[in-house]
Amino acid sequence: MSQNDQKAEFLKGTLDMLILKVVALGPIHGYAISQRIQMMSKDLFQVQQGSLYPALHRLEDRAWLQAEWRATETGREAKFYSLTRKGRKQLETEVRNWEQISDAVALILRTVE
């Protein structure tokens, strides 16, 4: 039980960053975000809808994302997310943090070997 919790917690942080990264490429709706993440990670990440939408709403609530309703190519109304100025900064910080951590982890792994 507790192990699962830890994993979910870990993923949540990264999920936010991945979403921001994907949205940074241009306005995009929720379904496309999940598709894009899955595709870009070469199917390594299977984004659970159960966590994607709450994450989107959380990011919107923090004003890192802004949303707007507009028509898709098929003519359906959908909620499109785009990055705000605050969101861009947040993305930069998170990417920097991530790189630091992954560098550090990689360093440790290499040294210990």
Partner: protein, 886 residues
Amino acid sequence: MYWFRRLFRKQQTERQLDSELRFHLEQRAAELADAGVAPEDARRCARIEFGGMEGVKEECRESRRVHLIETLLQDVRYGVRMMRRSPGFTTVAIITLGLGIGANTAIFSVVNGVLLSPLPYPHPEQLVALDESKPNFQFGSISYPNFVDWRDQNHTFSAMAIVRGTGFGLTGAGDPEQVSGLLVSSQLFDMLGVKPVIGRTFKTGEDAIGAAPIVLIHAGLWQRKYGSSRDILGQSMTLDGKSYTIVGVIPVNFGLDQGLGKVDVYMPIGQWGNPFLKLRTAGLGIHGIGRLKPGVSVVEARADMERLTKSLTAAYPEEDKGIGASLLPLRDKIVGRVHVLLVVLLTAVGFVLLIACVNVANLLLARSTARTREFAVRIALGASKSRLVRQLLTESTLLALGGGALGLALAAWTQGVLVRTLPDALPRVKEIQLDVHVLIFTLLVSLFSGIVFGLAPALRTSRPAALAVGNRQSANRMSHRTQSAFVVVEIALSLVLLAGAGLMIRSLVRLWNTDPGFDAHNILTFGISLPPSMMKAPPPAIRAALRQLDDRIASIPGVQAVAPSWGAFPLQTDDEAVFWMQGQPKPKSPNDMNWALSYVVGNDYLKIMRTPLLRGRFFDASDDERSPHVAVVDEAFAAKFFPGQDPLGKLINLYDNSGNNGSPLVQIIGVVKHVKQWSLDKDGEELQPQMYRPFMQLPDAAITLTPSGIGMVVRSQGDPDALFDSIRRVMRRDNGEEVLYGPRSMEAMITQSLAARRYAMFLLGGFAALALMLAAIGIYGVVSYVVGRRTQEIGIRMALGARRVDVLRLVLRQSVWLIAMGVGAGLAAALALTQLMTSLVFGVSASDPLTYFCVTALLTGVALLACSVPARRAMRVDPMNALRCE
């Protein structure tokens, strides 16, 4: 403001959330359909992939910060719906809480007005009460010359003033009447920041002896006598036959709260005709107030005054020997006496609320068992545990706020009654009101009680075990354990309250049965002032007028006996005589002489008071101004000054501080029983020896003061209050120039002297009764519940051959155990808490075994009675029915 706007666009947000998620599903379904899945299956697959739609939605809502308020609103709406659906439960809960919160609000409003709110003067923390400390009195009267030196020679006060209550006969403005007056020194009003309505207050120097005669009048008198006319400034007013110029009007809300009552006229103290005012040794009932300079502490001021009084003692070794200054923060001086009473009442009323909370918690607990399924369904639909607890707490807080509203209404409604029935002894009564502080208090108490009684049931209900619908049995056992704890707590709290009330009842019975040394039944006292023409009359004329007055009143039907009274009177005023024994050298300072209470009375006084004469004789007509000076003393006097000797025939030198007549040699001619001068309860703590002197032997200097008012004591045949009216009628008819005022029966005086205690007894008794009732209901509820749950088990037992007595024993055994635990805990708590009341009880110890035994018996009896109703129901269980039920 973004979240705020969104709060009101909730429906739109909901719609958008819905279509956003629906769009996702459709996209997924379309994609699957493209991949060749049949449309029906594609939609189903998409849904399965997505997972719980409602759960995701709830999570989305939760990731928005406005969520708290939204859920609160939602919970409130839901709570109101639940309350409406069970009106019986809601009504009982709100009434129970309303009673508890209402009682708390009412008592807190008193505590707030009396103890907590600052005195209504600017910088009240700088104000101190000033008194002279003397060998016999810690808070004695300040003599005028000492006051002048204190005021002019201190380094720590920015202002200092003295006051002395008095009365005046007001003539020349409608019917003659007695008005209450306050003699003050000039700085009083400026020091207290009092601004006159019109005119001015007194200026420096106007309080000196021999200054021009001026007065200030109170706005109440201004309105009553002068129709609030602005023309009265500069007009004259006749008080005790002398005319004074009115220079200003004092606002209606001004009053010094030191037991001085209402005041009609303020006069500079230098105008007082009392010849003793100039004497440094005179004790004339003058007390002081001072304002400390900014930044000066009471301790520093005490040191300063000690230095000052020591230098005065050095300068006036005879007069000021042993004289110091007592300083107390003014607020403490005013409210100090009632502090304990109010703290006890607030504690008691807090207990009542706790019991009410426990009762409602019990109700909630019983109901939450019934709602188990509802919560299980909500959890299945995705509600988190904390969400359920929050929901339940919201519901209980709603109930508490309902109770708070009802309580506030009750408090507002009873406020008038409460304030009216408050003993006069309670200071600052007019500052009691339902102000913002009280409202905040009520709100906090309501929220607090909502959480107190809501938390246990809420946590219990949201326990996973309680939610497993199939596992009802274990949930019941747990909630039963909580309920048992509630019963124990209720019984314990009730016992504490009952013990407090019991102690007060025992104290009052003791006090009522105390022999005060006189027979208070059918005694009337009132004040009388002679016609203004007598104010300047020579002493023989005054004596003649007084004798005539005595005869006139004695001849009125219904009057059995009448006597004038001067100086001390039991439970009302005190006055002291100072003397030394014949044959001994005269002590230099009066403070080194012997002190006794001084009663100067008419010859029939003993007949009226029915104080037993122990030896010798009392005064008769032969003891007048021309005959040798005589005195009658009480047993305490005899024991203190003539231990082991016969006091009859002994001579004492009476110190006359005016110094005019020398010091008369007085012979003791009788001994009477001691009377309770100070109070029924604390008489022994003050000056004990008592001395009576015949009225006509008052020195001339004192006789000239009597026309402005003396006391009259009358033994009546019937109702003393009715007699006063007929005496006044007869006096008016005869010539109508005397003013009769302030009628009080001796019984009323005793009642009043016990008022604070009686008040405590009634309130504590009321709270205890309320607690007992709530506890009985609580116990009844729990036992009924348990019996109801065990009906089936009882049925089986009976089917297997248990007798009714066995069933009764089964049910009662458990209850008796709970009651015993509650009583045990209660006794321990009561023994500790009643120590608070030590100063309120009289004649019994705070751990009086009889009181404890009685209240324990009463509580146990009531608790058993409450159990016996459901227990008898259990006895009548029909085994067949019980078994068929399942």
